[in-house]
Amino acid sequence: MWTITPSIIENERPVDRFALHYVPQTHWRVWHALWFWAMGIGSGIFCLRQFFGISGSGLFLGMNAIDIVGLVLVAIGGLILILDLGKPFRFLNSLLKPKKAWISRGAISDFAFLGIGVLYVLPGLIPSLPWSDAVFSQADVVSRIFIVLAIFFAFIIMIYPGFVLYYSRNIPFWNSIFTPILFFEYALTSSFGLVGWMVTANGEALPSSFYVVFIATLAITLVSVFVYLFERNSVQNPCIRASINYLLKGKASGWFWFSQIVGSLLPIAMLVVMLTNGIFPASSMMWIGVCTILGSFSFRYSQLLAGLRVSPLV
């Protein structure tokens, strides 16, 4: 019965709501992209420090700088989220439905990560506390419990924005399991970039395994993006096709191609050259960090921009 092909309109006027169109969603834009980005990096760098046993990234008030930056970024992300709510002072209500709603799961994880993370780093400031802020391999039992819990919640923080988008049925472009996977991957790539930058800027060396895993993560992310687009394109849905066109050729294309070229390809090329030469200059690591961090943001923003609303009929 519904045989129509709606057109895309950029700026929806009130009267346009009385005809059928594909319209880019406007509810979640740059602030949401910043929220996803800050939380992804913040939780990611905390995990990477533990996985690679990194301790030489400098101190802030006696506490490890990577942990502090991670906690601050997650806190900033949470603050952006709260300020973007229609009723910011009711933000605690968002903790009420973790059984079904990913926003609820994410909000609980944010608070839990911040609470546990602060407890974990506190011995740097107050050495008399009966646990240490050492990395997992050197930590005592209490610290290890804190680390495992913090990594668990950090993982949820990295994937939950993707699941929030995944369940947005009005935006079929996002309804792919690759959405949370890509959000996780981009959280990791930008975290690798920031950790590499911070450690080398402090004059410390990173294990070579760090660089190998960094390149592998960037390459997997790059491939995943195109598998995701291929998978989305294979779904016979005109709204998804319109979204892909919008992402690759439309208003979101600048942000998308920036994320792929500057955020993934360029760092891969630089890292390969550095690995081949066996030299990892701090200045190059800084540029790789900047590229991956900006790429991570621009990918998320391009995803939000390309979110075209489905027509109620098509």
Binding site: V15, F18, G86, R90, N93, L95, Y167, S168, P312, L313
Partner: protein, 230 residues
Amino acid sequence: MENNDKKKKKRWGMVIDLTRCVGCQTCAVGCKIKNNLADGLWWNRVITVGGDQIDTAGGTYEHPVRYSIPLNCQNCENPICVDVCPTGASYQREEDKLVLIDYDKCIGCRACVQACPYGVRIANTEEPRYEHCDVQLGEEGVTPRYQGVVEKCTFCVERIDQGLNPFCIDVCPERARFFGDLNDEDSDVSQLIRENPVETLHPQMGTNPNVYFIPPAKKKTRRTGLDFIR
């Protein structure tokens, strides 16, 4: 609307006869007045299917296409909007599974707006303004409009609770909208669903909407307009 089967829970639903709807927007305006909706907010819209603009035809010169489809909350049996709500502000009422919003719990995260496949939820992002009207509208019992929360059609829950029809049903001049208990086999809506090849919107989403449409040119000819005049 009368239901003799007291044991069975009610399941409110609508049938909208697109062969009768002329796109006059009376239901949309009636809803706006009855619920005191602020400027720019519509819980109920009559969408033109055909051209790119309201009330324009699409198709070809020989075969133009144009019909109207009233669109309000579909009051789904499996509402995605309720699942994604992190606060429980969007909920299904226990007694009749109506999908409603508790404005005192809503935090305005807009996850439900993004989740609804029908695009019928509205985020009230600005302070409600009534520039084109200097008197307070809205029926008694209608909640005031708040900034920062999400709104949608409630099937006129205050009227249903008083045994009345939703306002859009009563004001439709074409008698194109029907309302009743889908669990009552004798109700208008159940009979219409039985006797016509009704369709729902986005059935592939698994939401099981409780709003059914009789598509244009698919209605059985047995019924006439007079059958439904109440």
